[in-house]
């Protein structure tokens, strides 16, 4: 599933720098390429710019210098609405906190991005959401509100929501930060399966070295700069 030599990478950062208006540089001069089917861990100490890099790669933030290319397309040329449309159709986010809407059931939460994209009719959208919840072992939780679920289940619902529109790229920011070891391992099992069986690209920010080792590649940041980029097991 990885890109051929002539194909553009799924995602590329070219000399990306992000500096806040106050002058603080979050990430500096970062160039990275992510192929289809890669499972990448972004690691580094606190304040090293891991999450900032992830938000830039996920088109939630814009670099002050350099550019982000998604499937060969320069995202700097896109306006806010076009970026939103790309996020909706091509990207899936998982955060440390599940961010499920508390008023809605698990099923409804998963349905939100599907309905927003509007490609499926009501029955097909529901079937898609149920399939995703079922694949993550959440059939019984479909009608439950987030407050009725355990932490691990909520995070799995959040992953199902990230997968709702069948994105090529999953971006996860400390997705296991609020979970115990068992649930954290279960989340990484899901990510592995998504990469291995479905050929998706997963980029995950983590400061847990054990979990990082389960990825195929590890990008290590210090002070907003890439200090190493290679196989995670190394």
């Amino acid at each position: 599933m990885s890109d051929g030599p002539a194909d553009p990478p799924l995602l590329a950062a070219e000399r990306v720098t992000r500096t806040l208006p106050e002058g603080v540089t979050l990430v500096a001069d970062i160039s990275l390429r992510f192929a289809r089917g890669e499972f990448v861990a972004i690691t580094g100490p606190s304040g090293s710019g891991k999450s900032s890099l992830l938000y830039l790669l996920g088109l939630l933030d814009r670099p002050t210098e350099g550019r982000i290319l998604l499937e060969g397309r320069d995202t700097a040329e896109l306006d806010a609405e076009e970026l939103a449309a790309l996020r909706l159709a091509r990207l899936g986010f998982v955060f440390q906190f599940h961010f499920l809407l508390p008023e809605f059931s698990s099923l409804d939460n998963v349905l939100i991005p599907i309905r927003r994209l509007g490609r499926l009719d009501a029955a097909a959208a529901r079937a898609q959401a149920m399939r995703l919840l079922g694949a993550l072992g959440l059939d019984a939780a479909a009608t439950k509100l987030p407050e009725q679920l355990s932490g691990g289940m909520r995070q799995r619902v959040a992953i199902a929501r990230a997968l709702a529109n069948d994105p090529a790229l999953i971006l996860a920011d400390e997705p296991t930060g609020n979970l115990d070891t068992k649930n954290a391992a279960a989340v990484f099992d899901i990510f592995e399966r998504l990469v291995r069986e479905e050929g998706r690209t997963v980029i995950v920010v983590t400061h847990d070295p054990d979990l990082a080792r389960r990825c195929s590649r590890r990008v290590h940041l210090v002070d907003g700069r890439v200090v190493s980029d290679g196989p995670a097991s190394g």
């Binding site: 996020r87 909706l88 906190f97 008023e103 991005p113 927003r116 994209l117 920011d173």
Partner: protein, 414 residues
């Protein structure tokens, strides 16, 4: 849009109590607006319909709107010497060529016209004297321009012809004089002419000034009483379409030169009072709705504050700024709509409640209850205003929500 509505519904339902308070605030505003409008408009509509019913729609008078210019001023309009204190030329009062003008007016489509001579007289019965206005009429023509026949409680307008020096007076006037049908009273005009007149009819319009101070006699009889042979000092017109009164009055005045007043001009004072009344009513009820709108602003602001994380996740999922703005705007409008619907029901109930109130005293309208106007347009206006106010109230927090930076929020939550 369906998705935004579902999300809005979910968010509002989560804050059921706050939402209900806001909705109830809007509902009260709408209900009071509807009830007060029903009261005010009921009275005003009754009053105006009485005016239109009782008074002619257009009155041509034997006077000019502006005094005729003096000959000297006409001869030297740019003269260096100003002329002042010149007595106006004496002329016989009355509409000139009234017969010709009457014929021209009667030839117009949808216009009925009647000649009238009005004049003061003192009615004397025993030791009682009452000063009144005697209206000299042509009964056949006058029946076409006024509702006097409808307002008559005793006798008929044609009885003026059947009886020598017949007089029709208001019931209240008859009571003041202590006379009844068939009684003969003395009428004395300012010119000193005295006639013995027989009461052949009584009327009641509901307007005290008319019922207490007006009488009708044959035109010829009043011309004798006022010592003004063949003089007509008014031509009264009734129109099929009352809304044409003002433009037609202007047209007639331009054509004949005689001062011509529409019913609107004659009752300008009352109509101005009504405009002021309405302005006060709309201001007060508007203020209630404004307070309700603040309630909506408050709840939407609270929701935006509480839903910061949800807004961030929705944006990360691909919702645009416009989507987020719509989401909260919809919540304001939904609250406004719910309030409007509830307010319309409450307003209708309040109107029916007011309709049950009895004063125990008979009002001029012949009823001892409020005169209420039930107009669906008021419901529409109140609802529209409520939804608009709610929408405007929601705009500011909705814009704030749409501008939230998801990165900042996610960082803060992490």
């Amino acid at each position: 849009m369906r998705l935004l509505l579902d999300l809005a519904r979910g968010m509002l339902a989560r804050r059921r109590r706050q939402t209900l308070v806001s909705v109830f605030g809007v509902a009260l505003g709408v209900a009071f607006f509807i009830a007060i409008a029903a009261l005010m408009r009921g009275f005003q509509t009754y009053f105006i319909s009485q005016i239109i019913d009782v008074a002619p729609h257009i009155t041509i008078k034997d006077e000019m709107r502006d005094p005729p210019p003096q000959a000297a001023a006409l001869a030297h309009p740019e003269g260096a010497v100003a002329i002042a204190g010149v007595r106006p030329q004496d002329r016989v009062r009355g509409i000139r060529a009234a017969g010709d003008k009457l014929a021209m007016l009667e030839a117009m489509e949808g216009v009925a016209a009647a000649p009238v001579l009005t004049g003061q007289a003192l009615l004397r019965y025993g030791s009682r004297d009452v000063s009144v206005t005697i209206v000299g009429i042509d009964p056949v023509r006058h029946a076409r321009v006024s509702n006097i026949q409808k307002d008559m409680t005793h006798g008929r307008i044609e009885d003026l012809r059947a009886t020598a020096n017949g007089l029709i007076i208001g019931e209240a006037l008859a009571q003041r004089l202590g006379v009844g049908l068939g009684d003969t009273i003395a009428a004395v005009s300012p010119r000193g002419v005295t006639l013995s007149m027989k009461v052949v009819g009584l009327f009641r319009t509901g307007i005290q000034t008319l019922d207490q101070q007006q009488g009708y006699a044959l035109l010829k009889v009043n011309q004798v009483l006022q010592d003004r042979s063949n003089v007509v000092n008014q031509i009264q017109l009734r129109l099929r379409d009352v809304t044409r009164a003002e433009p037609l009055a202007r047209e007639i005045e331009a054509r004949f030169g005689d001062r011509t007043e529409s019913w609107e001009e004659q009752n300008k004072n009352f109509l101005t009072v009504f405009v002021i009344q309405n302005a006060v009513m709309y201001s007060v009820t508007g203020a209630i709705l404004l307070v309700a709108a603040f309630g909506i602003y408050n709840i939407i602001s609270t929701v935006v504050y509480e839903k910061t994380r949800d807004i961030a996740i929705l944006k990360s999922l691909g919702f645009t700024e416009r989507d987020i703005q719509m989401l909260f705007l919809v919540q304001g409008i939904v609250a406004g709509l719910l309030g409007a619907v509830l307010g319309c029901v409450l307003g209708a109930v309040m109107i029916e409640g007011l309709a049950q109130v009895r004063f125990g005293v008979e009002a001029p309208s012949g009823s001892d209850r409020f005169i209420l106007a039930r107009d669906w347009r008021v419901y529409l206006l109140a609802s529209g205003f409520a939804v608009l106010a709610a929408g405007i109230a929601a705009v500011i927090p909705a814009r704030r929500a749409s501008r939230l930076d998801p990165v900042q929020v996610v960082r803060g939550a992490a």
